[in-house]
């Protein structure tokens, strides 16, 4: 057993400095398209290539609705005029429903319990959420804890488009939570149904069923974006925008 102790000590601290400092390591985020300007043909091609309709057009200006972006990179690769790309990860934003659950209040600023519900997620979102519990991200240092029962949860983390069979469990989990409570939708599927919904078996995201307070876009959102979302939920970070701003000039 002593070997494990030595091994652990030798490994040193791997945990990210975020949110104290921005994480500078590469590969922590796939990035998101920002905006583009182009000729009529280029603009048309970009809008046409986007499989989920995330790219919105006004004149020759293109902006992105992050609720829909699934990181297919079709507006970046093999395109004549690729979209701008932002490699950040502070993507979490308040939704228009924010405040529907009336927020957590300052008493919860330093520590919250999180219950995760898989509403039909593909596994990548779950894997990224699991990383939060692991050395590189270690959410415990920020006062975030996972709980096995919604009865103790302050924040409900939902990934996936909410499949038909998961509607009831999700609703029951939400109802079982004590107030005050927050709902955080993680990933494009949870925000808009992504590539799966709406369909005969999937909803167009969590907000169809229960009010969502914090949205974390991405497919999947990298762990740092989810941490940003949790920090936003307890008002320790400010909200990003769910739509990219236009290109200036």
């Amino acid at each position: 057993m002593s070997k494990w102790v030595i091994k652990g000590l030798r490994t040193g601290i791997k945990t990210t400095q975020y949110p104290r400092k921005m994480e500078t390591a590469s590969g922590v985020s796939p990035g998101l398209p920002t905006a583009a300007k182009g000729t009529e043909k280029e603009v048309q091609e970009l809008v046409f290539n986007c499989p989920t309709g995330a790219i919105e057009r006004s004149g020759n200006q293109l902006t992105v609705d992050y609720n829909y972006c699934i990181h297919c990179f079709r507006c970046k690769r093999g395109s004549q005029s690729p979209m701008g790309w932002d490699y950040g990860y502070e993507w979490a934003a308040n939704t228009k429903d924010s405040g529907a659950n009336r927020g957590l209040g300052s008493a919860f600023n330093r520590s919250i319990n999180i219950r995760f519900v898989d509403g039909g997620a593909c596994g990548a979102c779950i894997s990224e959420i699991e990383q939060l519990n692991k050395p590189y991200y270690n959410m415990h240092r920020l006062g975030f804890f996972a709980t096995p029962t919604p009865r103790e949860a302050d924040v409900l983390l939902v990934a996936g488009p909410v499949t038909d069979h998961m509607r009831l469990p999700l609703k029951k989990a939400y109802d079982a939570m004590p107030t005050p409570k927050l709902v955080m939708a993680v990933g494009a599927c949870a925000l808009s149904g992504g590539i799966f919904g709406p369909s005969f078996m999937s909803d167009a995201g969590v907000s169809e069923l229960i009010p969502v307070d914090v949205a974390v876009p991405g497919c999947p959102p990298p762990p740092l974006a989810i941490i940003h979302g949790l920090l936003l939920a307890v008002k320790r970070k400010s909200s990003a925008l769910l739509t990219s701003s236009e290109v200036r000039g």
Binding site: W4, G27, C122, M166, F200, C219
Partner: protein
């Protein structure tokens, strides 16, 4: 070598034998170059033919594909990897109005869940199957509405029916004081949605009633009518942790139909990326096993390696889970030589760490106590239940698609398929470690002699037709059947995933063990419900 020399003659024999056995009732058509053999037979002999392939010629069952064509229904049983090391599709046609077909799961138990799924989704009743209903579609789904039928409109929401309050899952344990211990669908800290009812009289699990498909998104249905490019996105995203393998299988199927030539560099890079995904998955699974035994230090150590691989994938390809890479005719991006160099260098460092972790784990008796002789699956059971991937290989069923149906250039590589015989949790852990090592070995081989050139074709045309794509996904053999219509849109997309195959045999391992072994056995199986439920 001997086997491959004999291959051509074996194929011929196959058609001769079958024609002699069932004169006039079977038509055999073999494509020697592709190792694919089609047998079109009469409904009355399909069970005999399948049983012949399975029990006499040692073929494994791959998939059952039902197609609701305009005028008739086509059922295809796909077998692979037997005597002749190829694929055999046994098919028969029935009229649109036929609702009952013979069940073969009495003979080949691996077909069991396929038949149950098709009964739910197509409304075809498999005569002789003792457990139909309540599988993909849960109790609130209205009777008689079958979403995979051509006439079902997937855009319409369906109406929930009133659930009978007396409805109960079937219990078969008749011991005094037996009860069902419910787990899920929302359980544990971070777990995929799945529901298990453990029949027990306390302490030991006597029988498991798994209730899955909480995550059923109807991928096969929503793929229909869409362009192939869109369906690639579905293949990639229905199971995010094995995205590259599944999108590769689909791309290969479509490339096969349309005769699209994949440039050699793309072929080689596909292997590199598929093995990178396997490596990352296996290390994640090892972390899962450590975590299930509440071994925090080891979990952390494995998780560090997992996150490092995720970051490495992100740096190399722009996406941590290798999304958006596979396109028809190759890859959407090329990897520069210095990126390949960096990959090789990083993997060397990772292997050193992984070997250290392996050694430490193999000498931690408190950890091994939880795995050894826990959740054992015998070779016989693995064969009869159609298990695949590392789970099957831990029980001695060494069938690896990369060897038996080589694709994308695996046939040119020198690697071994690790196997164990005990079939317990520890054997599964050892297979994961050994396969991870093999993956690094494969990446190194490919990276050292990467052919030059482009990674995709600039122009190609998607032809109509049907084909099967196959791949050894991180969790095991995966088969994607696709039929493309005249307009280039998908008519039928059938996904057979390793998680689906292996969940079917999960009860073999987890029954007759104590409750506290249940999560450990689950972790050593390392299955995904997203992949299984589709």
């Amino acid at each position: 070598m001997v086997q491959s020399l004999n291959k051509a003659t074996e194929w011929l024999n196959l058609s001769e034998i079958s024609a002699n056995r069932w004169p006039g009732k079977i038509k055999v058509r073999c494509k020697q170059d592709r190792f694919i053999c089609h047998m079109e037979c009469d409904k009355s002999i399909v069970a005999d033919v399948c049983n012949w392939l399975f029990s006499e010629l040692d073929y494994s069952f791959a998939s059952l594909v039902v197609e609701d064509l305009a005028s008739e229904q086509l059922l295809t049983y796909i077998f692979y990897g037997g005597f002749g090391n190829g694929l055999i599709c046994v098919s028969y046609r029935i009229s649109n109005s036929t609702t009952t077909v013979p069940s073969i799961s009495n003979l080949i138990h691996a077909v069991d869940w396929h038949e149950r799924e098709i009964e739910d989704l197509f409304g075809l009743v498999f005569e002789g199957h003792p457990r139909l209903g309540d599988f993909v579609l849960h109790e609130e789904w209205p009777e008689g509405i079958n979403p995979m039928r051509a006439d079902f409109d997937p855009s319409n929401p369906y109406i929930h029916r009133e659930v009978d309050p007396d409805w109960r899952p079937l219990r078969i344990v008749q011991s005094p004081g037996a009860f069902m211990m419910p787990i899920g669908p929302v359980y544990s800290d971070f777990a995929e949605s799945a529901h298990f009812l453990l029949e027990t009289v306390g302490e030991d699990v006597i029988r498991i009633i798994p209730r899955f498909f909480y995550k059923y998104r109807g991928i096969e249905k929503i793929a229909e009518g869409n362009a192939v490019e869109h369906v690639i996105l579905l293949a990639e995203r229905f199971s995010g942790t094995s995205a590259f393998a599944h999108s590769l299988a689909l791309c290969k199927a479509v490339e096969n139909i349309s005769g699209i030539e994949v440039p050699p560099r793309a072929k080689a890079l596909r292997i590199v990326l598929a093995e990178l995904e396997r490596l990352r998955h296996h290390i994640g699974a090892i972390a899962g096993i450590c975590s299930s035994t509440a071994f925090a230090v080891a979990t952390s150590q494995a998780s560090i390696l997992e996150e490092e691989l995720l970051r490495l994938s992100g740096v190399l390809t722009g996406h941590r889970y290798l999304f958006g890479l596979n396109i028809l005719s190759g890859l959407s991006i090329d990897l520069a030589d210095d990126a390949i160099g960096m990959l090789a260098k990083n993997l060397r460092g990772l292997m050193v760490e992984l070997n250290k972790l392996k050694k430490l784990l193999y000498f931690s008796s408190s950890f091994l106590d939880r795995l050894e002789e826990v959740g054992a699956v015998s070779l016989e059971d693995a064969v009869s239940h159609g298990l695949v991937g590392p789970v099957a290989r831990a029980s001695g069923l060494l069938r690896d698609i990369r060897k038996v149906l080589p694709y994308s250039g695996y046939e040119k590589l020198d690697f071994t398929v690790p196997g164990e015989e005990e079939g317990d949790g520890y054997a599964r852990l050892r297979v994961l470690f050994a396969e991870a090592e093999q993956s690094v070995n494969i990446i190194n081989q490919v990276a050292s002699s990467l052919p030059p050139g482009s990674v995709n074709a600039k122009s190609f045309r998607i032809a109509p037709g049907e084909a099967l794509g196959w791949v050894e996904a991180p969790r095991g053999a995966s088969f994607h059947w696709i039929r493309v219509g005249e307009d280039g849109r998908v008519l039928r997309y059938r996904l057979t995933t390793p998680s689906f195959s292996n969940w079917h045999g999960f009860h073999l391992a987890a029954e007759n063990f104590a409750f506290q072994d249940f999560p450990i056995i689950m972790a050593t199986f390392g299955l995904s419900n997203a992949e299984s439920d589709r």
